[in-house]
């Protein structure tokens, strides 16, 4: 009796699986016609949900814009999006879904380094080009020739910050306080190398865990060392606490941040006056007079009611690059890969993209921005080829 029941349940479940699989397979042969499908994953829930929200808005804006203009060569674009919850396991199963079931021709990662890095080999294996919008870890593009990066690899940004600290801000004694993950470690190491090469002394290096909120102890320690600059590769949540608590402790030194705190709501909105004078390296120059930048900022603000941040701009650019390449080469994954590899001097929101190198790393200038009156403004730009040329291996 019992066995029969189990058997019946098993058969039912099996039938259901077939049914579900059958439904999914229905779209197979529509790939040549119908909309062009572009995959997208981002942390819409979990601890990075705020960045996920920003990039998802940017992705929707990019797709809406191209469809309004009549699509690409007469075909509409469809965004196939998933939430990875900042979970590497989830990112991997999304990659499997996008490459085997959804028939996307290309993918944009709107997620962090950990998740993007785990997913990259799957896209490479499947021969689907992926552009990482803002994840910085060097291993991402090492997955292969189908993987491209839309923001600077950590090494470039760290080196640029080293130059900003020593040459533009004249710092001699520097403390580093970085987040203890791929992002923070990559930036801290390359910054330290460059700063020491230029003659500065690193007086302390401290790290903290993602989500840390209490920095008074370590800042009190840094205060005693009396450095003239604090380099802070952190995300907006932690970065805002560091600048607030530094102010509370009267730690009156120049703070140099990264694109990790390039966020209007999350960083400027929380840190308020304590953020005044903070300088960051990023890829979005809000004061740029180029039309595409001002249009993007205006459209984003009109649509969503707040100013875009670095992650939104980078994601928007990843889509713009893809649209451009698809228009030139057609909606075929191999053609898209080739188009990306050959791209030259593309006018994007985050600067003019000179091109992607063999590894798939972008080359463009590093922007230096300063917080004045509660907004990011132009402070400088790093264009030295020896700094902004990404590594080839």
């Amino acid at each position: 009796m019992r066995t029969t029941r189990y058997l019946a349940v098993l058969v039912l479940m099996f039938a259901l699986t077939l049914l579900v699989a059958g439904c999914g397979g229905g779209g197979q042969d529509t790939a040549a016609e119908g909309p062009i499908k572009i995959g997208f994953f981002a942390p819409l829930t979990g601890p990075a949900a705020a960045d996920g929200d920003s990039v998802f808005k940017a992705a929707q804006l990019a797709v809406a814009k191209i469809n309004e203009q009549g699509g690409i060569n007469g075909r509409q674009v469809e965004l196939v999006h998933y939430d990875d919850g900042l979970d590497t396991k989830q990112a991997v199963s999304i990659a499997q879904k996008l490459t085997t079931k959804d028939n996307v021709v290309a993918v944009v990662s709107g997620s962090y380094s950990g998740t993007t890095r785990a997913a990259a080999p799957i896209y490479q294996e499947a021969g689907i080009p992926m552009i990482s919008a803002y994840a910085v870890h060097p291993d991402i593009t090492r997955a292969g020739d189908y993987i491209f990066r839309q923001s600077f690899v950590g090494l470039v940004q760290g080196k640029a910050a080293g130059k900003v600290a020593v040459e533009m801000l004249d710092a001699r004694r520097i403390s580093i306080l970085h987040i203890d993950n791929d992002f923070g470690r990559t930036l801290a190491t390359s910054f330290q190398e460059k700063a020491e090469e230029l003659g500065a002394e690193i007086v302390s290096v401290d790290s903290f865990a993602f989500g840390e909120k209490e920095f008074t102890p370590v800042l009190a320690k840094i205060k005693q060392l009396n450095p003239d600059l604090l380099y802070m590769p952190a995300y907006a949540g932690e970065g805002a606490q560091i600048v607030r608590q530094a102010k509370d402790l009267n730690l009156d030194i120049q703070i140099l941040g990264t694109e990790g705190i390039d966020s209007t709501l999350q960083f400027l909105g929380v840190a308020k006056e304590a953020a005044e004078g903070v300088i960051i390296t990023t890829n979005l120059n809000r004061d740029s007079e180029r039309e595409i930048v001002q249009d993007f900022i205006a459209e984003y603000e009109e649509q969503y009611g707040h100013k875009p941040d670095m992650v939104a701009a980078s994601t928007y650019d990843a889509f713009m690059v893809l649209f451009h390449v698809i228009e030139q080469k057609g909606a075929d994954p191999e053609a898209i890969r080739q188009g990306l590899a050959e791209l030259k001097n593309f006018e994007a929101v985050t600067g003019v993209i000179t091109g992607y190198n063999e590894l798939g790393e972008v080359q463009k200038p590093v922007q230096v921005q300063i917080v004045r009156d509660g907004e990011f403004h132009y402070f400088g730009e790093i264009t030295d080829p020896d700094i902004i040329t990404p590594p080839n291996e």
């Binding site: 949900a49 989500g211 805002a240 709501l265 909105g269």
Partner: protein, 286 residues
Amino acid sequence: MILQQLINGIVIGSVYALIAMGATLVYGILKVLDIANAGAYAIGAYAGLFLYQATGSLPVAFLGAVLFTGLFGVLVQRVLYVPLLDKPPLVPLICSIGLFIFIQDLIRLLAGPHIRAFEAQLPFRGIELPYLSVNAIWIAIMATTAVLLVFLWYMLNRTKLGLAWKSTAQDLEIAKAMGVNVDRVVAFNFLLGYGFAAAAGIMIGMLYNSVFPTMGDMPAYKMLAIIVLGGLGNPLGTVVAGLLIGVVETLVAGYVGFFLPRDAIAFVVLIVILLVRPQGLLGQRT
């Protein structure tokens, strides 16, 4: 510098004590590990923020949010915990984890994933000395925690309700047989427990000027370390354990560096102390 670090540790420790107090009270009576108490912490912070924005009065926002969250706690025990009481302890535990995740995502859907600033104007100023700065919010946190804890001590030790609480904690069935209105004690217990969590949430929101949906993640596991360290269900032990962990974390972070994530330190302290005193700091050997 040592004074600065100590004060900082006490501030953090006071908040830990409040966070863990809610779970301690619930455990004391129902023997349920209430993870959802960390959800009440986030609810309290959001309720406080919205009430403050609506009324502009900090006391109204604080009391309103504490009361609102406390009533939510009463609802939770009526609808969820009481019906599950005769099930094995794992069932209410899983239920509370589910409720915690539900609360976090509900907040994200209702209020959005972004960090919201909680800028409160306090009517007094902090202390600024060359080598010591104590800002106004720290003073407010230490004072509020002290008032709440004295209030709790008074309730438990000097009132009839406190006597009923203690007898219910010792043995729910016998207390019932002796004529204690156990339902009321349990409801009151949740009112207090969730109210305390809300108070902690509001204060942390103000301290870091940020309120966000996943803010309950840290208390969700740290309160476990604190209530176990304090001797499971012992309110006084929880206060001592909260302060101890706050101070140790701060001193380690200040003098040794973040060689471990701050949150790991709490568990290292827990392991070391349990090796010496398996019943917790103030727990009784049974």
